[in-house]
């Protein structure tokens, strides 16, 4: 690992004196464990044929929970397809994360309930939505008032590969030129499917912000405390009207890109093993144990985890199959007559049971 990373909790579990003493370390631990459990359970469900695909977050729990816990209720998050830990921190029902991957829905949750937007599969597209939302916040006057109940900011997630898309670069230009209340949170997990970071860039992610005219911060993404502190600071900066920040959470994707990827074709298992020793959860567990956290706390987390996995398994199988008319609904505010006719014909056709064998 490189040395220029902002870090507060060392791989040996030693917490820096400069860490904010009021942060809820136990809560962070629990959130990371639950995020990982969502992931392991979803992978198991995929293997059992219950999900078509899953994008694993293994190894990125520290970055995600650190960032997710920095959000205030009125802040808005724009995720990619891998932010299961942020979704958890936002209070999104984890079962609803499964529908997209099970093929029962194209969305899965109401983005307005938890200010957590729908997953974005088209790389980079969400960065511009986040910019637009931040422009809305500025127009509403909800920035720089000093009133913590009023000021808001946007936190948008992206991968290191997404930095190469034109749209992401346009988002950076707009965010800078308009000094928007936005934080770009890039999890540099070092891989865009099979492409190592060197295919995208010759400089570290954080350094790229400078060229656009805003701040870049490089943080140890396997350190939940540092990821949290950096995001709290950047969101505060944004809410106060001081403009954007690009956070690079330097981490590693320990699983294949998705359940259909074969990472043995493009990377060495030994490197993945090295990163396993930097595990964000184990690091915090070591620290918590070291400061005398009792067994009953860990037992409580384990019990909660067991409940969660039950809930996910049962919930996944209970996700309702969509109705045959569902593709037609909500395509327009007012359904055009010809689409209504298509829907009518289709529903009749399906009801007649003339379904082709797959």
């Amino acid at each position: 690992m490189t040395d220029d990373l902002f870090s507060l909790l060392s791989p040996e579990g030693v917490l820096s004196d400069s860490a904010d003493a009021s942060v809820d370390l136990r809560g962070m631990f629990s959130d990371m464990v639950m995020s990982r459990r969502i992931d392991t359970e979803a992978i198991a469900l995929q293997r059992q044929g219950e999900l078509g695909l899953w994008a694993s977050l293994l190894g990125q729990e520290g970055a995600q929970v650190g960032a997710g816990r920095a959000l205030r209720p009125r802040d808005v998050a724009f995720p990619t397809y891998r932010e299961h830990g942020v979704a958890w921190c936002r209070g999104v029902d984890p079962v609803s994360l499964l529908g997209l991957f099970r093929g029962t829905t194209l969305g899965g949750w109401d983005p307005t309930t938890n200010n957590f937007n729908l997953y974005t599969l088209v790389i980079g597209a969400q960065t511009l939505h986040a910019v637009g939302y931040a422009m809305g916040i500025v127009r509403d006057g909800d920035v720089g008032t000093g009133d913590p109940d009023r000021d808001r900011a946007v936190l948008v997630f992206l991968g290191d590969g997404a930095l190469s898309e034109g749209e992401t670069n346009e988002a950076f230009v707009w965010a800078a030129a308009q000094n928007l209340p936005i934080v770009f949170f890039c999890q540099n997990n070092q891989w865009a499917i099979s492409a190592p970071y060197s295919v995208q860039s010759r400089v570290p992610v954080a350094q790229r912000a400078q060229g656009f005219g805003f701040r870049g911060v490089r943080v140890d993404g396997n350190d939940v405390v540092a990821s949290h502190a950096a995001t709290v600071e950047a969101l505060e900066h944004a809410r106060a009207g001081n403009g954007p920040t690009l956070i690079e959470a330097f981490t590693y994707r320990r699983n294949p890109h998705t359940t259909s990827d074969d990472d043995g074709r493009y990377r060495e298992g030994a490197v993945t093993d090295d990163w396993t020793t930097l595990d964000p959860i184990e690091r915090l567990r070591t620290h918590l144990t070291g400061i005398g956290t009792g067994e009953e706390f860990f037992a409580g987390v384990a019990a909660e985890e067991a409940d969660l996995s039950e809930r996910l398994r049962a919930g996944c199988r209970a996700l309702p199959d969509p109705s045959p008319e569902s593709p037609f609904l909500h395509t327009y505010v007012d359904m055009p007559a010809d689409l209504e006719q298509q829907m009518h014909d289709h529903v009749e056709y399906v009801a007649a049971g003339e379904v082709d064998p797959a």
């Binding site: 529908g99 997209l100 088209v122 590969g161 395509t331 289709h346």
Partner: protein
């Protein structure tokens, strides 16, 4: 020995790369991974990373730089990872690639191929099952082709790479693993021609790409009802081979067009318009379309019903005979 369509594409690419050192491949994950569908498997190992380029994650970059490479005398073959991800490159394709030859009054040709896995039926998540062909066919200056079998894939990819015009090469992913014999020595039909896959006398069924095998099954089922259906695989979606379609409709008097893409302003509308214009007095019945609906491509649990299948096409055939 029979070959899967994905492998036929790989072989076709390999053969043109061997023949012409100016051919190079650019795309996301096409090198060591061999592409997410393994169409480029092993090519980087054999031709090196200057000829099989793992690109940064940017589709405008892939197509835009392919345009520049073509201007510099190369023959780039781009891979777009999935149908739904071609849209960031649309500006380069539509405003630049399609028009440059015309603007330069023929002095600059752009022999760029853009390969895109298209279509549904594989249980994928959103943006992985789109049918974007009409956008391209609507744009003058592009050729649009779509093979449905291993043999066609082998022939068409070779012709596409050798074409001096830009080619949008749509690979029906549903057919990637369909196997067929390839005759590598056969003289392929000219670029731009449709193919009669199964001859028949009572009705013409026109389709392309993923639906061709379904159409052949439809014809077999219709034969049991005593109806002889002629199946035409368009292969070339732009230009459309009018002559083959007209000659068939002339004999059968009936036409059904089937495709996965949504109905409105799709290729079916184009074919129907051409046929009614040229063949009005030969038609016994209106041209009928069987297509995807005018909705977003649905969540995969619904795609089995949503996609045009055997029954919906047979229903359309029945309807044609009610006239």
């Amino acid at each position: 020995m029979s070959t899967a369509m994905a492998h036929a594409l790989n072989e076709g690419l390999r053969s043109v790369m061997e023949e012409d050192p100016k051919v190079l491949l650019i795309g996301e994950d096409i090198g060591r991974l061999g592409g997410v569908f393994r169409v480029t498997d092993g090519l980087q190992k054999d031709f090196g990373d200057a000829r099989v380029v793992d690109s940064p994650l940017g589709e405008a970059g892939i197509v835009g730089s392919a345009i520049g490479l073509a201007m510099a005398g190369y023959r780039p073959v781009c891979e777009i990872q999935f149908d739904g991800f071609v849209f960031p490159a649309m500006n380069q394709i539509i405003t630049q690639l399609a028009k440059y030859r015309h603007r330069s009054e023929g002095t600059v040709t752009l022999p760029v191929v853009i390969r895109i896995p298209v279509g549904g039926g594989i249980g994928a998540i959103e943006h992985h099952s789109e049918s974007p062909e009409a956008y391209f066919a609507h744009t003058a200056g592009l050729r649009v082709v779509s093979p449905s079998s291993a043999q066609e894939a082998y022939d068409l990819i070779r012709m596409a790479v050798r074409s001096d015009d830009p080619v949008i090469f749509l690979e029906p992913k549903h057919n990637y693993w369909l196997k067929g014999e390839i005759d590598r020595a056969a003289t392929p039909a000219p670029f731009g021609s449709a193919q009669v896959v199964r001859p028949g006398d009572d009705l013409t069924l026109v389709t392309y790409g993923a639906l061709v095998p379904t159409a052949v099954k439809v014809a077999a089922a219709a034969a049991e009802d005593g109806r002889s259906v002629e199946v035409i695989d368009l292969r070339s979606l732009s230009p459309i081979d009018d002559a083959t379609i007209f000659a068939s409709v002339e004999r059968t008097g009936r036409l059904v067009v089937a495709h996965e893409a949504s109905q409105t302003a799709g290729l079916g509308a184009e074919i129907a318009a051409r046929v009614q214009d040229a063949m009005f007095y030969s038609l016994e019945a209106p041209v009928i379309r069987v297509t995807g609906y005018d909705t977003p491509y649905p969540a995969s649990r619904l795609e089995g019903d949503w996609l045009p299948g055997l029954d919906r096409i047979l229903d359309a055939i029945d309807r044609s005979f009610t006239y």
